[in-house]
Symmetry: C2
């Protein structure tokens, strides 16, 4: 099981300070969609250059032009790139093909996918590397969580790794771990903690033990 730090509401310099503080406790650092929208792939490039030993995920939430966007993210140094589960199969297929060429990985974000079990099976068959259940920011505000969705995709996914994201904090992490995802994605649960490094360290310890 791995730990991913999701960065959302910071600029590039603030991101560097945050990652520096927890870098030895995380496996992947995510440049979240709000940062991509604000700064573009420049943010991915800057973080990969500053932390070459960490994997960097570019949360592009690709909806179209899968091959092209994966190529651009690869140029910027992204190790993992996200595509939306609600996108067309041709978009996911194009992203996977380009990632194979570039030697990086595709994560599909299942945010707002209906019939999640059926769609996860289809997406798994397209050869993606990760399938991520995700209670988005707007969903969290409505009190939704992703445990049932994780269980649903784990019933059908045969080759992809599974990931879970959305509102995970230190006091809900044990419940998340017991649902056995391959990757746990934490944002505010680390960046909003009083002691970020102690929180990330504790999270890492639990995750490595699982």
């Amino acid at each position: 099981m791995e730990l991913q730090l999701a960065l959302d509401l910071v600029n590039i310099e603030e991101a560097k300070v945050l990652v520096k503080e927890v870098e030895s406790f995380i496996d992947i650092v995510e440049i979240g969609t709000p940062i991509v929208i604000n700064e573009g792939l420049h943010a991915v490039k800057a973080i990969k250059e500053a932390f070459p030993n960490l994997k960097v995920l570019a949360d592009l939430k690709i909806m179209d032009a899968g091959g092209y966007e994966v190529m651009k993210a690869s140029e910027a140094g992204a190790d993992i790139i996200t595509v939306l589960g609600v996108s067309d199969d041709s978009t996911i297929r194009g992203a996977v093909e380009e990632a194979r060429k570039q030697g990086n990985k595709i994560m599909v974000d299942m945010i707002n996918v209906k019939n999640i079990e059926t769609r996860a099976a289809e997406i798994d068959a397209l050869g993606v590397d990760y399938i991520c259940v995700h209670s988005g920011y707007d969903h969290q505000a409505e009190g939704k969580n992703s445990f049932e969705e994780l269980a649903a995709i784990k019933r059908v996914v045969k080759q992809a790794k599974t990931a879970i994201a959305g509102g995970i904090k230190i006091d809900t992490l044990q419940e998340v771990i017991s649902a056995k995802p391959d990757l746990v994605i934490v944002g505010g649960g680390i960046t909003g903690a009083e002691n970020k490094s102690a929180t990330a360290s504790q999270m890492q310890q639990w995750i490595k033990q699982a």
Copy 2:
């Protein structure tokens, strides 16, 4: 009927040169998703500053955090911001509420929406300003077009304006115009033309006559 120029595969400086060439023939300039991913909202800001008299559309294809993303795009000077039709109603609602505060507009991109007529009626009721049928890049490669989808949404949409995008060229424009959208979005049909200003001028003339 209005004409929107969609810019996709250019950097900020190339975008300025292109817009300069056709600015008197277009109503809206779109900073396409690939530019947003590469350059972030800096591209929206640069084009709005260079062409204050044009409306600028930021093609964010928002999937989550509707209110926040619309606020950031507004700060950058966007007049119209796109949200995905496959996103949750709460995301579209958040985007519309923020746009009302900021005095700008929301376009919903119907790319890869299933049951387009039902969904268009739901989205129209959420108070968005434009609903856009869109044959994406990956769809166009499969030979799909959006005429049937435009007819479908026009049957149900009561308050929003309708728009059509995806692969429109000078030789298909008359067919598009006869389908009576409120807004026609053209990318490569202008940027890939031998004489860009003559093409845009001809398109504008036909659109204004319609």
